[in-house]
């Protein structure tokens, strides 16, 4: 563990806020007040936290339809996120994007994305900017196991390798693309074996283990920032909820989730790891959880109370000028 107490507290705070955010959304969605499609990240927090721990505002990430965790880990404002999900004017995108399109370029967050695999190409561009403009930044694409099979994703990996871009391809292999198991849809079962097809280093890690993710990402960012080109990281873990809110999940056994929560949970694991190492006392972590709860609660209340966008907003922001 090469991380300071502050780093560890920060990492736990990120995970706690993500967990609280999405657990709360699960509850709120059931009331029918939240419009559209919502995909929850609960269970995968260690990935977003471990990856983004190495990033600052000059670095970019491109996310997926399951993007809340990435946003929070990349330091997007949760009040703005919540308002966006509720479709309010105060949302990060003025209510025009919604859960699947939350973005905040000031934070280096290039958007959740409703198109599976699409963010990988955007990331090649952000990495090209970093390289061309000499910002020292890196760009990270999150993609699911299902998304890992999309043509654009392969093309982007090849391009990043050929152009030797400071790009990192993070695959969240959470076992399913919708109802379909990754072992079935992904020839060969593993995503990591695709790294060498594009001449880049590949890491496969337990996505429930913050430290494993963190360490793979440390190597990948070092390489990228040193101008040595892209890397691939495959993180394996499972989501706690359905593909989207409303999914009956009859494609997996109920016990699967119970076992996950009981035995694999990344936050419990983190607590155990830092506890064993005697690095952080439980009270500090409990306090973080309590803060996160309060913060998300306030965000939900604010979002519910916030005004919807004015009618005039329909026509703006299509073009810079037209």
């Amino acid at each position: 563990m090469q991380q300071s107490r502050d780093q560890l507290l920060k990492a736990y705070r990120v995970m706690s806020r993500i967990r609280e955010f999405d657990e709360r959304l699960h509850v709120e969605f059931a009331t029918g007040e939240i419009p559209g499609f919502v995909h929850l990240y609960a269970g995968e927090e260690a990935v977003a936290a471990g990856i983004c721990a190495h990033l600052s505002d000059r670095d970019y990430i491109a996310s997926t339809h399951r993007g809340h965790g990435h946003c929070i880990a990349k330091d997007c404002d949760v009040t703005g996120m919540m308002a966006e999900i509720y479709g309010k004017a105060a949302g990060l995108c003025g209510g025009k994007g919604g859960s699947m399109h939350i973005a905040d370029l000031d934070k280096g967050m290039m958007g959740a994305n409703g198109i599976v695999g699409a963010g990988t190409a955007l990331v090649c561009g952000a990495a090209l900017s970093a390289k061309t403009l000499g910002t020292g930044g890196v760009a990270v694409a999150f993609t699911g196991d299902g998304g890992s099979n999309q043509g654009t994703v392969f093309e982007a990996m090849n391009l990043a390798s050929v152009w030797s871009l400071p790009a990192i391809f993070v695959f969240e292999n959470n076992g399913y693309g919708e109802a379909t198991a990754s072992e079935w849809a992904l020839a060969g079962g593993d995503i990591v074996r695709r790294a060498q097809a594009f001449a880049m280093p590949g890491h496969q890690v337990d996505g429930n283990d913050y430290f494993a993710v963190w360490d793979a990402m440390r190597q990948a960012t070092e390489r990228a920032r040193a101008g040595q080109g892209p890397s691939l990281i495959e993180c394996k873990m499972k989501r706690y909820y359905g593909h989207f809110e409303g999914d009956t999940q009859n494609y997996r056994a109920k016990e699967e989730i119970e076992t996950l929560r009981a035995e694999k949970d990344c936050m419990k694991r983190f607590r155990a790891q830092v506890g064993e190492a005697g690095l952080i006392d439980v009270a500090a972590l409990d306090a973080i959880d309590a803060e996160a709860k309060a913060e998300i609660d306030a965000a939900v209340k604010a979002a519910k109370a916030a005004p919807t966008p004015p009618a005039s907003a329909l026509m703006t922001d299509v073009y810079a000028s037209y």
Binding site: P35, G36, A89, G97, H101, I115, A181, T308, L314
Partner: protein
Amino acid sequence: MASKSFRAAINEALKLEMRRDNRVIVLGEDVAGGRGGSANVEEAWGGPFGMTRGLYKEFGATRVLDTPITESAFVGATAGAAMTGLRPVAEVMFVDFTGVCFDQIMNQIAKIRYMFGGKAKLPLVIRMLYGAGYRAGAQHSQCLYPIYTHLPGLKVAVPSNPHDAKGLLISAIRDDDPVLFFEHKAILGMKGEVPDEAYEVPLGKANIVRAGKDVTVVAIGRMVHMAEKAAAALAKEGIDCEVIDPRTTSPLDTAAILASVRKTGRLVAVDEAYPRCNMATDIAALAAQEAFGSLRAPVRMVSPPHVPVPFAAPLEDLYIPNADKVAEAVRATVKHTSSS
């Protein structure tokens, strides 16, 4: 005859045609569902919208094929399969996702027969959900059938009700040309009378939903209901609308549309698709060229504004053409004539 939902009508059409012809196969993401998961695949998804539920159980894995999330590969595969003896019906969940397989539709499926000098037959169907109203945002709410109507070599069906959905889908499956089949996500639960047996609603034959003498209102897909609602309201004002549902945009039943315009002398074209180069312009231009002499007022187009589909509910509601906007357009055409 029983009342069935749009969703059930689609499901029934698939089942009946699969029973009738074992060359018909169904493929797409989670059309069976649960493949490789820990639960019993027979009870599984049938797609996130349940459109194909029960097919896997009845027809098994050789005829109901789950796919990885690789639209380009599996949509292209429909062309290869259709050329070589199968009659594939692919599901591309949302039409918005055809962006990733557009080449296979535009440059392969649409053109192969012509490029081969007629020596290939491509009996395939691509089913897709489309349309706004689901609070699904800019990448999950588009119409896009104008794009496919633009491309020669494709047929395009946009059913507005359960009865037509079943009959058009059966026709599409039996047809020897590629058919793009559009299902509006906001009317999947809509019910209507649907015969239990198989029947065809021919491609290229419009439906006169409501006969009238004052104004012709041509509306596409879900917009037919907006037009009907407007017509009902206008009837109380003494304005008698003829509402036409073309059912397919390619081929388009131009004869039915022109006959109506020649009769009423007025046209309102209603389309949920983006306003530029859409079906409203296509139909308005048709009338302006072919029925100009009969027109007694400017044609009117009712479409959304030239913007992506917004997420926030009040904005999306403003975006979608509704009965009020249709009625307003009809009133304008009627007023114009009276005052001129």
